[in-house]
C-alpha cells in the first residue's frame, strides 16, 4: 500500500481486499467488552478538520483511540486557521508536534494531495473528504458494508465485489462519495451505474468506469445495492432541478420503488439523510437500509486504514486480535 490514502484510485484490488479483511478483524474487537488494541500506542494521529463534520471526525477519533493512538483534534473553527493561517503553516505546526498521521477534511479539492506532496510533512495523510473530489474511507466502509451484506461476513474474506451491480443516485456532480465509490467499486469488480438528473452529472463523466442513467426506475430492478446521495437543498436555488418535490418524485427512493428492487438488495446512504427528499422515512427505517451499519462499519474500516498505514505491518501481519492475546 502507498504511504498515504488520498484517492480510492491509490488502492489496488489486493490493497482494498486487505483493508476490508483487516476491517473484519477490527470489527471483532468492537464486539468485545474492551474495545481496544495496543497497536498504535505512542503514535500520534491528528484529525485536521477545516470543515465541520462531526460524524467523520468522531469516527476517525474512535478508530484511532481503539488502536491506542494519541489523538489530537485540530478544528479550523476557533483556531488560527480561521484567522488566516495557511494550510502550509498549519502543516508545519503539526509536523513540529510529531504527527504520525494526519487525517484531513478540507473544503478545497486537492488539499490532502497538496499536504501529502508538498514536502510540508512526513506523516501519512488520510483524506477524510476534500471538496468535491474524494472521500476514500467512505468508499471503503461502503464496500465493506456491501461485501458483508451481499457476499457474507465470513464468506466475504479474501473476496471482492465481482459482478455486483451497484447504483449510486443523486448529486454526483458535487459528491466526493460518488467519485471514490466509482473508483473503488470498479477496482473491486463491481458494475456501477450512476443515476441523476443530467444537471448533476459532471461534464467528462464518460471517462469514468461506470454507466450513467437518467431513469431510476429502469435501473432499480437490476441493482444489488442502491446508494442514495444526500442532496443539498441549496442546489435548488442554482437551477439544478426545479423543485424539491420534483426531485423527490423523479430521483427519490420510496417504498414503491424499493419494492421493485431485487429481494436481497440493500439501500445505502452515507448520511446525514434528508428524509422526505432523496429517501422516505419508510425506506430509511426499513431492514434493507444499512445507514446505521455503515456508521459502525466506518470505525472498523478506519481502524484498518490507520493500522495498515501506521502499524508498519506487512500485509501478512498477524491478525490484530492475536496481538491482544499477547498483551494479556
Amino acid at each position: 500500500m502507498k504511504h498515504h490514502l488520498i484517492s480510492a484510485a491509490d488502492l489496488t484490488r489486493d490493497d482494498a481486499v486487505l483493508i476490508l479483511d483487516t476491517a473484519e478483524e477490527m470489527a471483532r474487537v468492537a464486539d468485545r467488552p474492551i474495545k481496544k488494541l495496543p497497536t498504535l500506542r505512542g503514535r500520534t494521529v491528528v484529525n485536521l478538520f477545516f470543515e465541520d463534520s462531526t460524524r467523520t471526525r468522531i469516527s476517525f477519533e474512535a478508530a484511532a483511540k481503539r488502536l491506542s493512538a494519541d489523538v489530537i483534534n485540530f478544528s479550523a473553527k476557533g483556531s488560527s486557521v480561521s484567522k488566516g493561517e495557511s494550510l502550509k503553516d498549519t502543516a508545519l505546526t503539526l509536523e513540529a508536534m510529531g504527527a504520525d498521521a494526519v487525517v484531513i477534511r478540507h473544503h478545497a479539492s486537492g488539499a490532502p494531495y497538496r499536504l501529502a506532496n508538498s514536502g510540508w510533512i512526513d506523516g501519512a495523510v488520510v483524506n477524510a473528504g476534500d471538496g468535491t473530489h474524494e472521500h476514500p474511507t467512505q468508499a471503503l466502509l461502503d464496500a465493506f458494508t456491501m461485501r458483508r451484506r451481499l457476499v457474507g461476513r465470513d464468506r466475504g474474506i479474501g473476496r471482492d465485489l465481482a459482478g455486483r451491480r451497484i447504483t449510486i443516485v443523486g448529486d454526483v456532480l458535487h459528491s466526493r462519495v460518488a467519485r471514490s465509490n466509482v473508483l473503488l467499486l470498479n477496482t473491486l469488480g463491481a458494475e456501477v451505474t450512476l443515476v441523476a438528473p443530467p444537471t448533476l452529472v459532471p461534464i467528462g463523466v464518460e471517462s469514468w468506469p461506470c454507466e450513467v442513467s437518467y431513469d431510476l426506475d429502469s435501473v432499480l430492478p437490476k441493482s444489488d445495492a442502491v446508494m442514495m446521495l444526500r442532496v443539498q437543498r441549496e442546489r435548488m436555488n442554482a437551477a439544478f432541478f426545479p423543485t424539491e418535490r420534483e426531485y423527490s418524485r423523479r430521483y427519490g427512493l420510496d417504498g414503491d420503488r424499493m419494492a421493485r428492487m431485487p429481494e436481497d438488495s440493500i439501500v445505502m446512504h452515507p448520511g446525514p439523510m434528508n428524509r422526505g427528499m432523496e429517501i422516505t422515512a419508510e425506506v430509511a427505517d426499513s431492514d434493507r437500509c444499512t445507514a446505521v451499519e455503515q456508521v459502525a462499519n466506518g470505525v472498523s474500516t478506519r481502524m484498518a486504514v490507520l493500522y495498515l498505514l501506521l502499524g508498519g505491518a506487512e500485509p501478512a501481519a498477524p491478525a490484530p486480535h492475536a496481538r491482544t492475546e499477547e498483551t494479556k
Binding site: H107, S109, A111, R114, R179, I203, G204, S207
Partner: protein
C-alpha cells in the same frame, strides 16, 4: 551616441547579414559592413528579430508592488527580448483615469528597460457598469489606444457595444477578456474529463466562445474593431476564423502557456498551473498552434501575471490565477511553433512584434529591420538549450509553470532605441 555593429546575424532567420546601429536608429543593413569605430557584436548563428511587443502584461504597479513593479516587470520584459509592453489596467487603483495611466507611463519612462504603454480600463473600477473616461486616457500623455477590463469580462452587451463604438473616435480598440461570468462561477479549471475526476469547478469552453461570438457580431454591427485576449479553445478559433472570413475587424492573441500546456497538469493540484483562462486540452493546444500559424490568431501575448509565493504555495482553491511569462515567452514559441515547423522566424517576428504593434497602434515598434528604422532589436541564440531556473528571473515573482523544464533558445541581446538593455544574456 555610440555605434554598434551586429555582425553575421540571421535577420528574421534569413541569410547572415551585418546590421549597424547608429544612435537610436538602424543605419545600415547588408553584408560586410565596415566596423569603423562601432562596438562589434559577433552574432554568427543567432537570429535577429525586431524588438518583441507584448499586448498583455500585468506589471502590478500601482498596488501590488509585492509581486511586480514597473521596474522589475520591464527588466523581465527586456530579458525576454521585449522592447514594448502593454500594462494591463487591473491595478490598485484601477487604471481607469488619465492620472493612473500617466503614472504608469511615467514609471515606464523612468525604468528605461522597455517602453510601457498603459492599457486603460473600459469601465470604472472594472465593474462593467459605467464607461471610464476613455477619451481622457487617450488624450493623456500615456496616449492610450487599447482598453480592457482584463481579469473581468465586459459582459453587459450594451456597455460592450458602446465601448466598441466610442473608441472609434480615436482609433482605439477594446481588448475583451472573454468569460461569461455566470457560466464560470466557482470555476477552477477547464471543464472536462480532468475536472470531473478532480472535483474542481469547471470553466467551460462555451463561457469563452459565447462572449467571443457575441462580440465579433457586435463589432461587425457597429463597424468597430475588437481584440480578443488570450484565446484558449478550439471553438474560439473557429469563431474568429469565421469572423475574419466575413472581413470583420477582429484580432486575437494566444498566450505561450496555452500553446504548450494542458489541463492534465492540474492533476498535480499544483497551483502554479492555475491560470485564467485555464489550461485546456491537447486538441485545443493543437488548434491554437494551427491558428497562430495560419494567421487566424494574430499574435502571441504573454498575460504575464506575477503573484507572490504565498499566493501559490497553498491549496488549489485558495491560490491566485496566473503565470509569469515574459522571460520564457520566446522560448515557448520556439518550442511550439519553430521546432514543429509551423512558423519560421519571420513568422515569429510577425506574431510577436509586427502585428501586436499594429493592433496597439504603437509607433516605433514592430518595424522592419531596415535603415532609418528605430533600433529596437532582439538577438536570439536558437541553439541554446537550458532548464528554466526561476531563481534567476528578473521578475519579482517566480510563479512559472516551466521550472526545471528544458526550453530552447535564449535572448542574448535586446536593444531599445539603440541602447542595449540586455547584453550577453544579462541586464545591461
Amino acid at each position: 551616441m555610440s555605434k554598434i555593429l551586429i555582425r553575421g546575424a540571421q535577420v528574421l532567420g534569413g541569410a547572415a547579414q551585418d546590421v549597424l546601429i547608429d544612435g537610436e536608429t538602424i543605419a545600415e543593413v547588408g553584408p560586410d559592413i565596415a566596423a569603423g569605430d562601432a562596438t562589434v557584436i559577433e552574432a554568427g548563428g543567432r537570429v535577429l528579430l525586431p524588438g518583441l511587443v507584448d499586448l498583455h502584461t500585468h506589471l502590478r504597479e500601482p498596488g501590488r508592488e509585492d509581486s511586480e513593479t514597473v521596474l522589475t516587470g520591464t527588466k523581465a520584459a527586456a530579458v525576454g527580448g521585449f522592447t514594448a509592453v502593454h500594462a494591463m489596467a487591473n491595478t490598485f487603483p484601477v487604471a481607469d483615469t488619465a492620472g493612473v495611466v500617466e503614472q504608469v507611463y511615467r514609471l515606464g519612462k523612468e525604468s528605461g528597460y522597455c517602453d510601457v504603454q498603459p492599457v486603460g480600463a473600459v469601465t470604472v473600477g472594472l465593474e462593467g457598469k459605467q464607461l471610464a473616461e476613455l477619451g481622457a486616457m487617450h488624450d493623456s500623455a500615456a496616449g492610450v489606444k487599447v482598453f480592457s477590463d482584463d481579469g473581468k469580462c465586459v459582459d453587459d452587451a450594451v456597455i460592450m457595444r458602446r465601448a466598441l463604438e466610442y473608441v472609434k473616435a480615436f482609433d482605439g480598440v477594446v481588448a475583451q477578456h472573454a468569460q461569461e461570468p455566470r457560466l464560470t462561477e466557482g470555476a477552477q479549471m477547464n471543464e472536462g474529463v480532468v475536472s470531473a475526476e478532480l472535483g474542481l469547478g469547471g470553466w467551460p469552453a462555451v463561457a469563452e466562445e459565447s462572449i467571443i461570438a457575441r462580440d465579433v457580431l457586435l463589432a461587425a454591427h457597429v463597424g468597430s474593431r475588437v481584440h480578443i485576449c488570450h484565446l484558449s479553445t478550439a471553438g474560439s478559433v473557429e469563431i474568429v476564423r469565421w469572423a475574419k472570413s466575413k472581413g470583420w475587424d477582429v484580432t486575437a492573441e494566444v498566450t505561450p502557456h496555452h500553446l504548450l500546456l494542458t489541463d492534465e497538469l492540474v492533476r498535480t493540484y499544483d497551483p502554479v498551473y492555475k491560470v485564467n483562462p485555464p489550461l485546456r486540452t491537447e486538441a485545443d493546444v493543437l488548434a491554437l498552434r494551427e491558428a497562430l500559424a495560419d494567421g487566424t490568431i494574430d499574435c502571441v501575448a504573454t498575460d504575464h501575471a506575477p503573484h507572490p509565493h504565498e499566493d501559490k504555495d497553498c491549496e488549489w482553491g485558495a491560490a491566485a490565477m496566473g503565470m509569469v511569462g515574459l522571460e520564457t515567452a520566446l522560448s515557448v514559441v520556439q518550442e511550439t511553433m519553430i521546432e514543429t515547423g509551423l512558423l519560421d522566424w519571420a513568422g515569429v517576428a510577425d506574431r510577436m512584434s509586427f502585428r501586436p504593434a499594429v493592433i496597439g497602434r504603437l509607433g516605433g515598434h514592430g518595424r522592419p529591420i531596415a535603415p532609418g528604422e528605430p533600433a529596437n532589436l532582439t538577438l536570439v541564440d536558437p541553439a541554446y538549450r537550458g532548464a528554466v531556473d526561476p531563481a534567476g528571473f528578473a521578475s519579482r515573482s517566480r510563479n512559472t509553470p516551466y521550472e526545471g523544464r528544458e526550453l530552447p533558445g535564449r535572448v542574448t541581446h535586446t536593444f531599445l532605441r539603440g541602447r542595449a538593455t540586455v547584453l550577453d544574456g544579462k541586464l545591461a
